[in-house]
C-alpha cells in the first residue's frame, strides 16, 4: 500500500496509513513510555466504560464459551477470578487471622 501511494502523488483516495495514531494502537503495542498518554486518551465516559465492558465480555465469550466443544476453562476462569476478587475485597477482614504480626 505505501509504495503505491508514494509513487502516485496526485491520489487523494489513499489515506496515509504510514503513521499509526496512538489512539488506535492496542494495549500490547503501546510502548512503556507512552502508557500514561495512552491511558489518558481512553474514553472514560459512562458510554465508553460500558462499551469497554461490552467488548471485553464479547471477546471472552466468543473465545471460550461460544464454541462447539467448550471446555472447563471457560467457567473455571470466571469462578477463579470471582474467588480472587472476593478475597481481595474481604482482605481487610481476613487480615486479623494472620499468624505473625511482622513479616
Amino acid at each position: 500500500m505505501s509504495p503505491r501511494c508514494r509513487s502516485l502523488p496526485g491520489t487523494s483516495r489513499w489515506r496515509s496509513h504510514r503513521v499509526m495514531l496512538l489512539k488506535d494502537t492496542k494495549l500490547m503495542d503501546v510502548k512503556l513510555g507512552q502508557l500514561g498518554t495512552w491511558l489518558a486518551m481512553r474514553d472514560f465516559t459512562p458510554r465508553g466504560i460500558l462499551g469497554a465492558i461490552r467488548r471485553g465480555y464479547d471477546r471472552y465469550y466468543n473465545k471460550y464459551i461460544n464454541v462447539r466443544k467448550g471446555g472447563l476453562g471457560g467457567i473455571s476462569m470466571v469462578l477463579a477470578g470471582y474467588a480472587v476478587l472476593s478475597y481481595v475485597w474481604s482482605y481487610s477482614h481476613i487480615k486479623h487471622d494472620r499468624r505473625r504480626k511482622y513479616h
Partner: protein, 375 residues
C-alpha cells in the same frame, strides 16, 4: 337422369357431411387446441368442404399453452417489476414473437414459463433486461419511464448480507490447568523457556504465603477439601459428561441437517418432475395428432353410415317404383288375356262348335286307323 339425381344427392350429402364435420372440427379445435382442422377437412370432402374448413381454421383460437406446473411459481418472491420490465423490453426488442406478449401488459404474476420464441435462454433474463432497460426506458413515454426508473436501483444497499453466518469455532481458547490461558505461557516462552511461568507461579505463591498476603486460616482447609473433591469429580466424570453434551449437540445438528437434506431432495425431485413435464409438453403434437386421427375416423364412420342409409332409402324407393310398374304390367297382361279369351269363347257359335266336334271325331278315327295299321 335418375343416376344424375342420385349423384347430385351424394355430392350434396357429402357437402353436408363436410359441413357438419368441419363444424365438429371447429369444436374439436376449440377443445383439443389443434388448429389443423383444415387438413382433414379438405381430405374428407371435395373442394367445397375445404373452403369452409379453411374458413373455420383461422377462427379457431391459436395454440394455447397448457397450465404451467406449480413449481414454476416457486421463484415468485422475485419483485414484479422484472416481469413488467421484461414485457416492456420485449415490446421494444426487435424480432418476432413480440406480438404474443404485446397483448397489453401481462399481469405481474405471469410465471417464469419459458417462451423460447421470445428469448433464447431464460436464465439470462435478468442480464438481458438490465442491458435492454435503458433502451426500453428511452422508448417509453416520460411518465412511465419515471415510474420504472426507481425500481432499477438495487434494493438492498446496507452491509447486511444474506449469506449464512460463519460456523462456530471447534474448540475454545486453550487453557492450561483449567485456570491460566495458554497465551500467558506463549508470552513468557521466548524469554524464560518452558519452566518460566511455573517458576513465576511458585515464586508468587511463596511470596504471598511468606508475607501473608494470602492468609492460611480455616477457609484454606475448607477450600482444600472442596477443591480436592471437585477436581476428583472432574477427572473421573469429565469425559462422560463431555461426550453426553456432544451427543446432544450432534443429535440437534443431525435433525436439522436431515431436514435440510430432505428439503434439498424434495426440490431435486421437483426439478426432475418439472423437466419431465417439459419433456411431456414436447409430445403434445403426437397427442393431438392421435386425437385428430380418432376424430377423423369417427367422422368417416359417421359419413359412411349415412351414405349407407341414403343408399338404402333410395333403393327402397326405386324398388317400390319398379314393383309398381311390374304389377301394373302384370295386371294389364292378365286383363288382356282374359278379355281375349272371353271374346274368343263368345265368338264360337253353336254351328262352329258342332262342326269342330265332328271334325275332331273324324280325326280321331283316322288316327286310330293309322295306329291299328301300324300295329
Amino acid at each position: 337422369m335418375q343416376a344424375g339425381a342420385l349423384g347430385g344427392m351424394f355430392h350434396s350429402g357429402a357437402a353436408s357431411a363436410a359441413e357438419s364435420s368441419s363444424s365438429e372440427a371447429a369444436g374439436a379445435a376449440v377443445s383439443g387446441g389443434a388448429g389443423g382442422g383444415a387438413a382433414w377437412g379438405s381430405g374428407s370432402g371435395g373442394g367445397s368442404g375445404s373452403s369452409m374448413a379453411a374458413a373455420a381454421g383461422p377462427a379457431a383460437p391459436p395454440t394455447c399453452l397448457p397450465p404451467p406446473p406449480p413449481l414454476a411459481r416457486a421463484p415468485a418472491p422475485r419483485p414484479p417489476s422484472p416481469r413488467s420490465r421484461e414485457s416492456r423490453a420485449a415490446i421494444s426488442a426487435p424480432g418476432g414473437g413480440g406480438h404474443r406478449t404485446g397483448r397489453g401488459l401481462p399481469p405481474p404474476l405471469l410465471t417464469a414459463f419459458p417462451r423460447p420464441a421470445l428469448l433464447s435462454c431464460p436464465a439470462m433474463l435478468s442480464r438481458l433486461v438490465l442491458r435492454a432497460a435503458p433502451a426500453a426506458l428511452r422508448a417509453l413515454p416520460p411518465p412511465v419511464a419515471v415510474g420504472v426508473m426507481h425500481t432499477t436501483r438495487p434494493l438492498h444497499t446496507t452491509q447486511q448480507s444474506l449469506a449464512p453466518l460463519p460456523p462456530l469455532p471447534e474448540k475454545g481458547g486453550e487453557v492450561r490447568h483449567g485456570l491460566i490461558p495458554e497465551e500467558f505461557f506463549q508470552f513468557l516462552y521466548p524469554k524464560t523457556g518452558v519452566t518460566g511461568p511455573y517458576m513465576l507461579g511458585t515464586g508468587l505463591l511463596l511470596y504471598f504465603l511468606s508475607k501473608e498476603i494470602y492468609v492460611v486460616n480455616h477457609e484454606t482447609a475448607a477450600a482444600a477439601c472442596i477443591l480436592t473433591v471437585i477436581i476428583y469429580g472432574i477427572k473421573k466424570f469429565g469425559g462422560n459428561v463431555a461426550a453426553f453434551a456432544d451427543r446432544l449437540n450432534e443429535e440437534k445438528l443431525a435433525a436439522v441437517s436431515a431436514l435440510k437434506n430432505e428439503s434439498i431432495q424434495a426440490l431435486q425431485t421437483a426439478i426432475e418432475e418439472e423437466k419431465k413435464e417439459q419433456w411431456r409438453v414436447e409430445g403434445r403434437t403426437y397427442l393431438f395428432d392421435a386425437k385428430r386421427n380418432n376424430i377423423a375416423m369417427l367422422l368417416e364412420t359417421n359419413y359412411r353410415e349415412r351414405l349407407l342409409m341414403v343408399y338404402n332409402e333410395v333403393k327402397k324407393r326405386l324398388d317400390y317404383q319398379v314393383a309398381m310398374q311390374t304389377l301394373k304390367r302384370q295386371k294389364e297382361q292378365e286383363h288382356m288375356i282374359q278379355w281375349v279369351e272371353k271374346n274368343v269363347v263368345q265368338s264360337i257359335t253353336p254351328q262352329q262348335q258342332k262342326e269342330s266336334i265332328a271334325k275332331c271325331i273324324l280325326d280321331l278315327k283316322a288316327l286310330s286307323k293309322s295306329v291299328h295299321a301300324a300295329v
